[in-house]
Structures are given as structure tokens and as C-alpha cells.
């Protein structure tokens, strides 16, 4: 799962998958702006078959939060 998310992030934010780790957040990636964020979320939604709420989308500002929110969704 984490690997899949890294792949999507690397694709949308145009960076190396290897550069993404648990501490990576919005400020660490040049292309992670608010618009790309939405493109990323929409990509996540279609790849994982999930739907995020606007509140969740606003919280997904780092790799750790993204994993947390996705796990919450998958386990509920």
C-alpha cells in the first residue's frame, strides 16, 4: 500500500519515489501545491477506490497523514 502511494505521489509531483519517506510533507516537494494536491487526491481515489471528504483532503498534507487517513478508511 505504502509503495503504491509513493508511486502515485512520484508521478503526480514529478519526483523520485525514493525521495518519499514517512516524514515527507507538502513543503518537501516542489510540485506539491494546492492544485497538484487535488490532482493527487483524485488519482488516489481512483487507484484505491476510495472517496475522501474535503476535511480529510485538507489534512492529507504529509505522507504519514495520508497513510493514517487511508488506513482509517480501509479499516472502517
Amino acid at each position: 500500500m505504502e509503495n503504491k502511494i509513493k508511486e502515485i505521489m512520484a508521478e503526480v509531483f514529478v519526483c523520485n519515489k525514493e525521495d518519499i519517506n514517512i516524514d515527507t510533507n507538502k513543503d518537501d516537494l516542489d510540485n506539491w501545491d494546492s492544485l497538484q494536491h487535488l490532482l493527487f487526491v483524485s488519482q488516489l481515489e481512483s487507484e484505491l477506490g476510495l472517496k475522501f471528504t474535503p476535511e480529510e483532503i485538507c489534512e492529507m498534507n504529509g505522507f504519514a497523514e495520508i497513510i493514517k487517513i487511508i488506513n482509517l478508511k480501509l479499516n472502517s
Binding site: 487535488l38 483524485s42 481512483s46
Partner: protein, 535 residues
């Protein structure tokens, strides 16, 4: 020629970043004051949604004005690519609203078609060619719309980019100017020098009918702006005789801008044609049935398009359809008859007048505005207006038809205002409710409102003065009124003050006014007023 890698500039009214490559630059959502110098300018607007839809007529007229502004500011080396206004995103199918969306889209389409017809720097693209491949649910995700004003769902962006680049190619590279034609076995069957006028196959039964239709189609292309030239190996005298005498021949001397009928090398002939017409060789398409001639021209002049010629005459029709759409089709929308969209056109005309005439006074005078003022009628329209009008509405009190009728029965006055000008009739677009107390010679303007589309012409003041004069005639000497502040009506905050009313009280969002009527007001004579209580 436009380069896809070069950065282009997108005028937009919503979030469209997901649809274009990263090097694109963008306008703000609404206003802009200058036109950037990017070679390629793109205009991608979406139909207003949600709260803006009640102003759709004004908005669409305004969009067109903005486009015209851009076209006027553009340099000759810039291209403006305008997308049509998609109706795919308007989901609510209210009876009236839906029709006006379609009319709006149609009006917009026709206006940009007109622009591209008269200005070669302007091209247009039917965006629904792309969107129609998707269901509405695939097109929009309301979450992203409300979070970021993103109308088109982000996932569609990638497909859109591909489609758009294909369109750009079509616009960029394929448009040719001149069609160079061989004669023998191309425009007719057989060889004129050997078979003679009576022997060549043209018209009548197959294969002559196929050649005749081929000529007819080429003629239509010429009528649509394609230049035609002849490059053949014939005696020119034979050819001229053929043109003069063959009853079924369609393309003749007058249809060709340049004729090379000789035994010279065809590549040399075509180069000469290019020089004579002063157009680039890359603007040519060469049609010849002889593969050796085609090869020769391809080799010598690689920038010229040299399509393969069909083996069978019956294939000529389809062959030419493809030639035309691949190389000559001006990238624009098809014309089609449709409903009249009078009101939009009128608004556009009005705005044009506004910019062409200096002062607002002159503008108003030139409009020949006629105001019709009615008393205690148009009840349902008045009720509807109290429900719908938000911006120029002093108190924003909402009424039902029954409540308005109650007022009339109890001796109060309901005024309604019709506005006409030389461009058309706006219908009933203003209303006032005045509660009167005849014993105290006092009246209270309970509601006063005008539709936005008639503002900016001083009508709001004239209507008020007329009402005051009418009340004066009824023996009223004191007028009370109120401004009640809402989120939308701030433009009316000084309305009564500007009309000579005095503030008597001001408290949390409400201002109360009073006005003593001592004499009648003079009415601006630029307006012709027709009323229901004497001229």
C-alpha cells in the same frame, strides 16, 4: 506556426490547470486588463454555475465583450483559440433555466464563429467533441468543484491534454491554401490530347459521373476559400477549348488562380506558382494520378503534401472529402440553423454602443429608452421580482402574489416598470411597493427594486421620481423609506440619499429616510415615459 512546447496563455473563469501542460500560464478568474504577448492565447470559459446563473444573459454578453477586447488587443502574430461553452456541466434541468443555458451556449458559439470567420487569427474548437465522450458523472466531481472551483474532474485532464494537442496539430500544421491539380485522368477520365473533347470521360455514366462530381466538390472547396491551380502536361489551347466547349465540365479558367499547362518539370511549375501567388510551398497540396509525377514533386519539394491518388474513379468522392478535411478545413464549427437568441445579441449591441459613444449621457440618449410605468398590475411578475432580485433591492422583502393583491385591495400602490430601447424590450424589470396613509398624507416605500440588466442608465432615478410625482398628485406630502442591508445590495446604500432623501435613523444594517414633497420633480427628457395614469 504555434509551438506546443512554447508557453501559452489561458483566459479562464474557473480552475482549468489540470487540463493543460505545466508550461501554460493563466488569467485570473474574471477580470483582466491587458493581453499578454504569448503566441498562442487560449480562451476556455465554462458556463456559470450556481449563484451566477440568474445573471446568465449579462454574463454571456460580457464574455463575448471580453473576447472582443482580446481580439482587438492582439498582434498579428498571435492566435486566439476559443473553446465553445459546454452545456454538459449544467445539471439542473429547470424548465426555463435549462433553455437559457442552451440558448446562451448557442449564442456564444455563433459569436465566436463570427469572430473566427472574419479574423484569421481567431480559431475555435467545439469542446463538447471531447466532453461528449464522457458521462456527466465522469466529467464533474462536485467535491473538487466546491473545494477549488475545478469544473472538470482532475482524472480527465490527461485525456484532455492529448485531445487538445491533436487539435492543435490540426490547427497548426495542416491548413493549406492552394490545391494544385493535374488535368488528364485527374479532372476527367482519359487524355485530352489523344481522346479529344468528345472522347474524355466527364459526366454521363460511370466513370464520367465520378469525375464530374470530383470537379463539383473541388468547386465547392474553391467557393469556401481554397485556391486552385493547374499543373498539367497539355497544350494550353486544347485545355481552353475543353473548358469552353465541354458541356459537363465544371472547373474552368476562372476557377484557377494560376495555370501551368506545359511540358516543364512539375516541381519547377509548382515553385513558380508559389512565387506568383506569394505563398509558401508548405501551403500546397498537389493532386496527380501519375505516381512518377507525384514522386518527382515529393522528392524535389518535400514540404508539399502529395496524397496518393485513388485507383478507381468511384473512390474520388471519398478521396476528396478526406483531402478537404485533412488539409483545408478551416478549423471552425459547423454552421447550423437554430433558435433566435435575440436578447443576447441585443445586449452585445448595447455594450458595443456604450464603448463607441463617449459619454454615458450620449449613450443613454442614443438608446431611445422608453419606460412604461404601470400601477397595480403585473402582480405575479412583481411578486416574482421581489423573490428573485437581490442586488438592486433596497429592502429585499419577499412577497407572494396573494400578499401583493392584499396590498392593492387595501389601497396601497404597486408600481411596475417596463423598459424598452432601440435594441429590444427588456420586459417588466422594475417594481416598487408603496404603502399609503392618505389621512396623514404619508407614504412608505416598502420595496424598491430593479433588475440588474437595466442598471447603468439612470433608470433607477427616473422611476423613483415618477413614483414621487404620482404620489404628490395623490396628495401625499411625506415619503418614508428604508435601506436594509444584505450581503448583496450594498450598491443601493446611498440610493435614497442621492435622490435627496434625509436620513432620520441609522441602526444595525438599516437606514431610515424621510422626504418632504413640496413640488413635482423634473424628469430627465432623454426618456420617453408611457404610463397608466396620464401622460
Amino acid at each position: 506556426m504555434l509551438n506546443k512546447k512554447e508557453s501559452f496563455y489561458v483566459f479562464r473563469n474557473t480552475t482549468v490547470e489540470g487540463l493543460f501542460s505545466p508550461e501554460a500560464m493563466y488569467s485570473g478568474y474574471d477580470e483582466f486588463t491587458s493581453v499578454p504577448n504569448n503566441k498562442l492565447l487560449i480562451w476556455l470559459y465554462f458556463m456559470p454555475m450556481g449563484k451566477e446563473t440568474n445573471k446568465i444573459h449579462e454574463l454571456i454578453g460580457d464574455y463575448i465583450n471580453r473576447i472582443e477586447f482580446v481580439v482587438n488587443q492582439m498582434s498579428d502574430s498571435q492566435t486566439l483559440l476559443i473553446f465553445t461553452l459546454s452545456t454538459r456541466f449544467v445539471q439542473l434541468k429547470f424548465e426555463n433555466a435549462n433553455q437559457s443555458f442552451e440558448e446562451a451556449s448557442e449564442f456564444y458559439r455563433k459569436e465566436i464563429l463570427k469572430l473566427s470567420n472574419r479574423d484569421s487569427r481567431v480559431k475555435n474548437i467545439n469542446i463538447d467533441d471531447f466532453f461528449n465522450g464522457f458521462s456527466t458523472n465522469d466529467l464533474i466531481d462536485w467535491k473538487f468543484y466546491y473545494m477549488s472551483k475545478m469544473v472538470v474532474k482532475p482524472q480527465i485532464g490527461l485525456q484532455f491534454k492529448k485531445w487538445f494537442h491533436k487539435k492543435l496539430d490540426a490547427i497548426n500544421y495542416k491548413r493549406k491554401k492552394c490545391l494544385v491539380l493535374d488535368l488528364d485522368n485527374t479532372l476527367w477520365g482519359g487524355v485530352l490530347g489523344e481522346d479529344g473533347i468528345d472522347g474524355v470521360k466527364l459526366g454521363g455514366d460511370y466513370p464520367g459521373n465520378a469525375y464530374r462530381d470530383f470537379q463539383a466538390n473541388i468547386k465547392m472547396a474553391a467557393n469556401a476559400g481554397v485556391m486552385l491551380a493547374v499543373c498539367s502536361k497539355n497544350n494550353i489551347e486544347d485545355v481552353q477549348e475543353m473548358w469552353a466547349k465541354h458541356p459537363e465540365n465544371i472547373l474552368t479558367e476562372n476557377d484557377f488562380v494560376c495555370i501551368k499547362s506545359n511540358w516543364d518539370d512539375k516541381a519547377k511549375n509548382i515553385s513558380e506558382i508559389a512565387q506568383e501567388l506569394n505563398i509558401g510551398l508548405d501551403s500546397f497540396v498537389f493532386i496527380d494520378d501519375n505516381p512518377r509525377e507525384r514522386e518527382r514533386v515529393k522528392l524535389e519539394l518535400p514540404m508539399i503534401e502529395v496524397p496518393e491518388f485513388p485507383d478507381q474513379p468511384f473512390e474520388l468522392f471519398d478521396f476528396f472529402t478526406k483531402i478537404y478535411s485533412n488539409f483545408f478545413q478551416i478549423h471552425r464549427l459547423t454552421k447550423e440553423d437554430s433558435k433566435k437568441t435575440k436578447q443576447y445579441k441585443e445586449n452585445t449591441l448595447r455594450n458595443q454602443l456604450k464603448t463607441s459613444i463617449g459619454s454615458i449621457e450620449e449613450y443613454i440618449k442614443n438608446l431611445n429608452i422608453e419606460l412604461s410605468i404601470f400601477e397595480n398590475s403585473n402582480v405575479s411578475r412583481v411578486a416574482q421580482m421581489t423573490q428573485k432580485t437581490n442586488q438592486f433591492n433596497l429592502t429585499t422583502k419577499r412577497y407572494s402574489e396573494a400578499e401583493i393583491n392584499d396590498y392593492i385591495e387595501n389601497g396601497h400602490f404597486i408600481y411596475s416598470l417596463g423598459v424598452k430601447d432601440k435594441f429590444g424590450d427588456n420586459g417588466i424589470t422594475g417594481a416598487a411597493i408603496v404603502l399609503v396613509n392618505k389621512e396623514n398624507k404619508c407614504a412608505d416605500i416598502d420595496s424598491y427594486l430593479l433588475s440588474c440588466r437595466i442598471l447603468g442608465k439612470n433608470i433607477e432615478n427616473v422611476f423613483l421620481k415618477y413614483i414621487l410625482n404620482h404620489l404628490y398628485d395623490q396628495g401625499i406630502t411625506t415619503i418614508k423609506s428604508k435601506y436594509i442591508s444584505t450581503k448583496k445590495n450594498s450598491q443601493t446604500i446611498s440610493f435614497y440619499n442621492d435622490n435627496g432623501f434625509e436620513i432620520v435613523d441609522e441602526s444595525k444594517g438599516e437606514i431610515s429616510y424621510i422626504c418632504a414633497l413640496k413640488t413635482k420633480f423634473k424628469i430627465d427628457n432623454k426618456f420617453r415615459i408611457v404610463n397608466s395614469y396620464g401622460k
